[in-house]
Subunit: 370 residues, 2 copies
Amino acid sequence: MVTTDDNKTILDPFGTTIIEDYDKLYEEFGIQPFKPLLNQMPNPSMYMRRNVIFGHRDFDRVLNAMRNHQEFAVMSGIKPSGEFHLGTLMTAREVIYFQQQGAKAFYCIADVESYEDNKIPFERSEKYAAGNIADLLALGFNPKEGYIYRQFTERRVKDLAIIFGRTATLATMKAIYGERHIGLYLSALIQAGDILMPQLKDFDGPKPTVVPVGVDQDPHLRFTRDLAARFHRKYGFMLPSSTVHKIIKGLDGSPKMSKRKPMSYFTLHDRPESIAKKISNAFTGGKPTVKEQRESGGIPEICPVYELCMYHFEEDDKEIIKVYNDCRTGKLLCGEHKQKAIESVLKFVKEHQQKRKKYVDRAKEILQVE
Amino acid sequence: MVTTDDNKTILDPFGTTIIEDYDKLYEEFGIQPFKPLLNQMPNPSMYMRRNVIFGHRDFDRVLNAMRNHQEFAVMSGIKPSGEFHLGTLMTAREVIYFQQQGAKAFYCIADVESYEDNKIPFERSEKYAAGNIADLLALGFNPKEGYIYRQFTERRVKDLAIIFGRTATLATMKAIYGERHIGLYLSALIQAGDILMPQLKDFDGPKPTVVPVGVDQDPHLRFTRDLAARFHRKYGFMLPSSTVHKIIKGLDGSPKMSKRKPMSYFTLHDRPESIAKKISNAFTGGKPTVKEQRESGGIPEICPVYELCMYHFEEDDKEIIKVYNDCRTGKLLCGEHKQKAIESVLKFVKEHQQKRKKYVDRAKEILQVE
């Protein structure tokens, strides 16, 4: 909900997820607004159309490559510490979107990070990883046109970390990651290696590369762009670009989904009853009484159930705009919409789980794990 | 020169190289004196007999393996940042000694360290490395019974660094290495990997391992022993043992040979005239006049030329004891002894350079460099 100077409310179905201070992001940190690029995109994704991807760094470079049918890459990954949740679903879909638009796609199992940050032994993260990659394939990632790898077994990213290490001062690491152990800093250097590996000779050299990130991940991208500049002479690196997406609210109304709050999130592999329960117990933008809501409408801007559909589970723009309007005018009540949301989510989850089964063996084969 | 309570001088040809505070090393840091083990050694090396190796950590374990013909390993290496000097000559000879006593010998080209610490690009350290390994082979290392490798191309040591990283706190790293960049800390973790790699399954698992170190390197060994204990459950590591040697004085009388003081040291590949000049210009333990020296003798305890022979270039114990006594009694003057020393050193260096030529191709082959 955006309010103008004269206090007239501007209705914007894609203006939810309040970020405290956009101006700061745009001006101070140099993230650029994505909207001006939208009508230049040949085939914008749902996240782009709905302003979930609200910002970028140097995305123009990737856009040019897309429009001129030149080589470009997309890179993201997952920390193998559990099942696919909505955050990893988002980046996976973004990777798949760019792959379908012609990008060389790189998808990383960040097992060094899960080891250093979450103390997950490699024997265990291997198992998560196989499941995660089965999810990725079920979502539409084409492994023949993409490269899937584990950090711990990919020599190139470890070697880049060693090479980058010489310029990584303690002050920089502390500023970005706080006072952590060396392993955590090492995994940050490996992540920089992940982002720049697509530009190595082994993958046909320098090219525009887009990294879809949540706004909270931007400091890492800045760190990597700095490394790319320092090692430009040696490798010819272009600065990597990013698209920056908003962070979906927790179902319980908390600002962010989090494992520490089980009612705030679900994974694609939770039991359907559990997912349904979490959605039906969710916080909403509804009014205290039906009467009030019929009269003055709900507030989708603060509603995680609306966000759930708008971000992920309602693919039809017209339909989501209708939901927004029907909520605002009091036509659609929370109970009704929750029911609808549950149906959409469970339909997706069940189909996905079916599809995923077929990919488990292929995933193990790709990762060379048992 | 050691003085007892009643100020009677005890003559000790192998008591040179004053270490400021042995008691501190023995008591506070837990380095143990080597002497009590000497007569248990089946075939002690020159460095052991002459108290150049004056201390150890847990060497009993290695000694037992040697006496019982059980498996054990020796590990050391070189930072490929230049030619072999007397410090690297010492550790190389120690490694070769233990190899000849039956150890599995590991010799590491610390190219990650030379990159992180000295900014030497890998393309350049490769070239030094080939020369260094030719030296090692010329000195008698048997590559068929040993393993020579580069840190940057040896997956196992890099992976151990990643695994160890999780337990390496900033406080520990700063205490040992000071406030340095992450790359330097990473190379310290890789060095711990070097020391423990001989105990991995790929090399037939846990075994006593001796690391010959200069006393200034002991903190690194303590760090690695701590990691060995932490990861004992996972890998079954035994704590690595060490022999600890004294640091030879600079020829110019400074406490330590150093590249920053060209007159303090020479390499095995300097021109013979240059080596001769450095020795003849060296500081000695001589008296201001010949007369005085004839009357009251020289002081070999403070003489780097005496040390040069005692550490490295006079293999006959009787002969070096004779030099010591002849100096103390004023029979041998500095000019004479310098001449003798120059002859011994140049004989060694010339023979070594001849031998080394034959090993350059073999060295390149072992390191897989051109």
